[in-house]
Amino acid sequence: MRKLIFNLLVLIALASCNEPDEPAFVDTVINRVSFNGFFIVNEGNFGWGNGSLTYFSYDSIKTYNNIFRSVNNKPLGDVPYSMMFYGENIYIVVNNSEKIEVIDRKSLESIKTIYGFISPRNIALAGPNKAYVTSMYSDSLKILDLKENEVTGSINIKNSSESILVKGSKAFVANWIEGNEIFIVNTETDELVDSLEVGPEPESMVSDKNGNIWVLCNGGWMREHFAELICINPLNNSILKKYIFPSKMNSPLNLQADSDGDTLLYIDGNIKAMNIASSDLPAEAFIERDESMFYKIGINPVNGDIVATDAIDYQQNGYFMIFDRKGKFISDHTAGIIPGNVFFMVNQGHIIE
């Protein structure tokens, strides 16, 4: 009996032995990124530092997950949220790490890490070698020198900021959390010059083919207000049109404009599409969610493909789906944890069929 127990224990001990620890990251390291594809910033879980970067190549029809870590041998950070392409560089805003990673556009190798932000969210080009970075938990925008890659100043808007859209010499900045205003900053003087009251919690903004700005106000997470879609004339900062969602339970998110600039898309459970000339909000779904739960969408500026992410349970790796411009499903692919915003880097003529 003792021998039996002993042998059993030794067997279990042997079975439980592990080989020496291997690197956890097994993705193929790519040496260069084609200019025909898109990035998805996978937010990862807040505070867990498991955000990552996914690249989908139209050339190879292949997904490269965790590509930042594969190339740079370090984690991207905690909640990467947005990106911007400028010159030969890519700027990745990492929200909860309070930094911006600057990487080479082609090799993805790290160039610099810029600190000095408070909960940065979105970044927008505001002039030659100049960008503004919004902040979820401070009252200022940060001014970034894109030549030296350093913070050179800030613009106090006395409120937190989320999405940002630059038209000419005006930067339109949305005050999302518990806010209902769009602030207008003069990009030449870096001064707050005006503000405009919109609906509760303006979450995302896009520009249409007429040069007007559309603002999606999601009504706030407490569901105490109706969500609104508002069209603004950026020349005189006036409201041209306002659409009010039918129920307080509507919580639309992530407004996007298609490649022609005449159709707006957003997530409201399903993906909804609306012509900018429409007099009503769309009642029907453009893309049914079926089993999916859409988290973010992006639209290919060249061919109009729609990329929609699904975070599944917000713990395991999510995935993204590619639809053609008519909403027909093309393919789906695995991404990282909580796949978020989509950023295209495409040339003319690359279309997935």
Partner: protein, 631 residues
């Protein structure tokens, strides 16, 4: 492979325990004994009190992490520490203080970093179904912190100041006084730590950088007063336990902080009044407890000021009698009423639950014993499906302490108040979770000559948790609590203890190894069943103790295997081995005495993390000078 050798070494000691089982002398003594277990069929253990004493300047999380099979997930010294017992979640470990459940009703779990081991006289661990004899909900098990009077002990004062690395200052005081029928014990624990240890940051920046952990200061105060009075057949006791902890919560290594951003304040007042009666075959214990806790969490960056106040009133009655010469019958009644005031719910909430259990313990001759329990829980006005536990234990060879035991249990856990009422996402229509648990074990207690004793226990267990509450993304972009989790946890535990005593020389070895496989049972087609995050498959620990006369030394080794940090097991934290040395000399000239103790934590300066991107301290030192004055 180095871990493989370690395991083999740990198991090599197992067969040694049985090699001397033909000693005749002990057979004569043991034959007449009943089974020694007070809960036949189930597994219980306790933390060695000498070892517990050596951790009185640290927290319960450090003690359990290094000296038990529990896995402690900690944000670092002083940071929030929760446990995984037998591959289950933090809320599946119940924590009792003298029989009163002290898990937070809001969270359904305890922060083990808040408890100082010196405030209690004993720490018992009940594994799996054994915990249901104390109270419901311990799918993994329970941790019982207890205080008891030393009626025949002397009055005295014990003082123990300490100083250590990283700005760590602490002090422990225990004052005992009284007569044969009245005892009072006062304990005080003060603990301050700058906690600014260096660590290697290899994830932020282009090159690994030696950084100093900042913003993790800790201030802790704990006071416990116990009063005991006995007369005839009864004992009346009253206890009051005050705790206050203030700490800065440092961010992850991925964040560069300029100053303290997150803070947490925990305060609690716990009190118990108890009456215990024993006469002949009748024994009963009535307890009334009031617990008031406050947790304030402040995040400057996120503009969060979360204030949470909980008042819990508990009544507990345990009645015991002998039904027959071999059978003891017990009744357990627990009534808990909690009131929550928090800015995280829409309004103040209260919850009430009552559980009634009947258990019977049967021992026949000196070879057979069994335990059975049946429990009914009233959750508000809803009756739950009854729980039960049943176990049997059998002495395999007459007169020799080799026991085979097995048990089967059904256990229920009610949703926490946050699961029900957190705004947004709380779900007031949640059902209770339940678990089906089975275990089989083999226990050996062997006296080898007069100078060497060997004990060992090996246990296989399996647990099926159903309707487990998980927070899932809901329709309106915030998470909601739902009964959708299904987890299968199974594993193996072994403990081997050797003690050698010869004249002034005492040598002890206590080793433990556990293998835990805990997976989501609802696996999609063509997908592997992944190990749950932050639950190590392999864990081992050993304590080698040595004392000769006044000099003593403990060498504590703790191995924790890799822990996955993603659901698909694609990333993990590597395993680590920690070594701690605690040594000292006792000076004991009569009624006064002193103990000079020197500790080296993390002897080999191992870099490790128990939560990703939250570094743990490297090598540190701690010196205590303890004085006792006995009247």
């Amino acid at each position: 492979m180095k871990y493989c050798l370690l395991y083999i070494f740990l198991f090599l000691v197992a067969p040694l325990t049985g090699q001397q089982d033909t000693i005749k002398i002990k057979e004569i003594i043991i034959t007449g004994r009943q089974l020694p277990s007070d809960l036949p069929g189930f597994k219980k253990s306790n933390i060695d009190t000498i070892l517990q004493n050596n951790y009185k300047h640290l927290s319960l999380s450090e003690l359990l992490s290094e000296c038990s099979s529990l896995y402690i997930k900690s944000y670092g010294y002083g940071g929030t520490a929760t446990t995984s017992f037998r591959g289950t979640g933090a809320s599946h470990t119940q924590v009792f203080w003298n029989g009163i459940n002290i898990n937070s009703p809001m969270l359904g779990q305890s922060d083990f970093s808040l408890f100082a081991p010196g405030m209690n006289d004993f720490i018992d661990l009940s594994y799996g179904g054994a915990s249901s004899f104390t109270g419901p909900g311990g799918f993994g098990g329970s941790v019982s912190l207890g205080n008891k009077p030393a009626w025949s002990g002397p009055s005295g004062l014990y003082l123990s100041p300490g100083i250590g690395s990283f700005g760590h200052y602490s002090g422990f005081m225990k004052l005992s006084a009284g007569t044969g029928n009245f005892r009072t014990v006062t304990r005080l624990f003060l603990n301050d730590s700058e906690n600014n240890f260096p660590y290697m940051n290899n994830v932020n920046g282009d090159e690994p950088l030696r950084e100093l952990r900042k913003n993790s200061q800790l201030t802790q105060r704990s006071f416990l007063e116990e009063l005991y009075f006995r007369k005839a057949y009864g004992i009346i006791s009253a206890m009051i336990w005050l705790q206050s902890t203030s700490r800065n919560l440092p961010g992850s290594m991925l964040v560069i902080q300029d100053g303290p951003d997150e803070k947490q304040f925990d305060q609690s007042l716990r009190s118990i009044i108890s009456y215990e009666f024993e006469k002949g075959n009748i024994k009963f214990n009535l307890k009334g407890a009031w617990s008031a806790t406050e947790l304030i969490y402040v995040s400057k960056t996120a503009s969060i000021n979360s204030v949470n106040n909980v008042n819990t009133f508990t009544l507990r009655g345990d009645f015991e009698t002998k039904a027959t010469r071999n059978t003891t019958v017990k009744l357990h009644l627990i009534e808990e009423y909690s009131i929550i005031e928090t800015n995280n719910y829409t309004d103040d909430k209260s919850g009430n639950n009552t559980s009634l259990a009947i258990s019977a313990h049967y021992k026949r001759g000196n070879r057979f014993g069994s335990s059975i329990l049946l429990r009914e829980i009233l959750d508000g006005t809803s009756l739950l499906f009854p729980d039960f536990s049943a176990g049997i234990e059998y002495r395999i060879f007459s007169g020799i302490d080799h026991f085979l035991k097995s048990s089967f249990s059904r256990n229920s856990r009610l949703p926490s108040m946050n699961d029900r009422y957190w705004n947004p996402g709380g779900n007031s229509s949640l059902k209770n979770e339940y678990a089906l648990q089975y275990e089989i074990g083999y226990r050996i207690e062997q006296q080898v000559f007069n100078i060497l004793s060997a004990d060992a226990e090996f246990t296989f267990y399996t647990s099926r948790i159903r309707d487990m509450i998980q927070w899932q993304p809901g329709k309106y972009s915030y998470w909601t609590a739902q009964n959708i989790g299904t987890v299968n946890a199974s594993g193996f535990e072994s403990v081997v203890t050797l003690k050698y005593n010869y004249n002034k020389l005492n040598i002890g070895l206590n080793t433990g190894y556990s293998y835990t496989r805990s997976v989501n049972a609802r696996v999609e087609q063509n997908r592997d069943a992944y190990q749950l995050m932050y639950i190590p498959e392999n864990q081992a620990n050993s304590t080698v103790s040595f004392s000769y006369g006044k000099v003593y030394l403990f060498w504590i080794t703790d191995f924790t295997g890799k822990r996955y940090i993603t659901v698909d097991n694609s990333e993990y934290l590597p395993g680590y081995i920690l070594n701690n040395i605690r040594s000292g000399i006792k000076i004991d000239p009569g009624k006064t005495g002193a103990d000079i103790n020197f500790t080296i934590q993390n002897l080999f300066n191992t870099d490790y993390q128990t939560i990703a991107f939250h570094p743990q301290p490297g090598r540190s030192y701690f010196l205590t000078l303890s004085f006792k004055l006995i009247k």
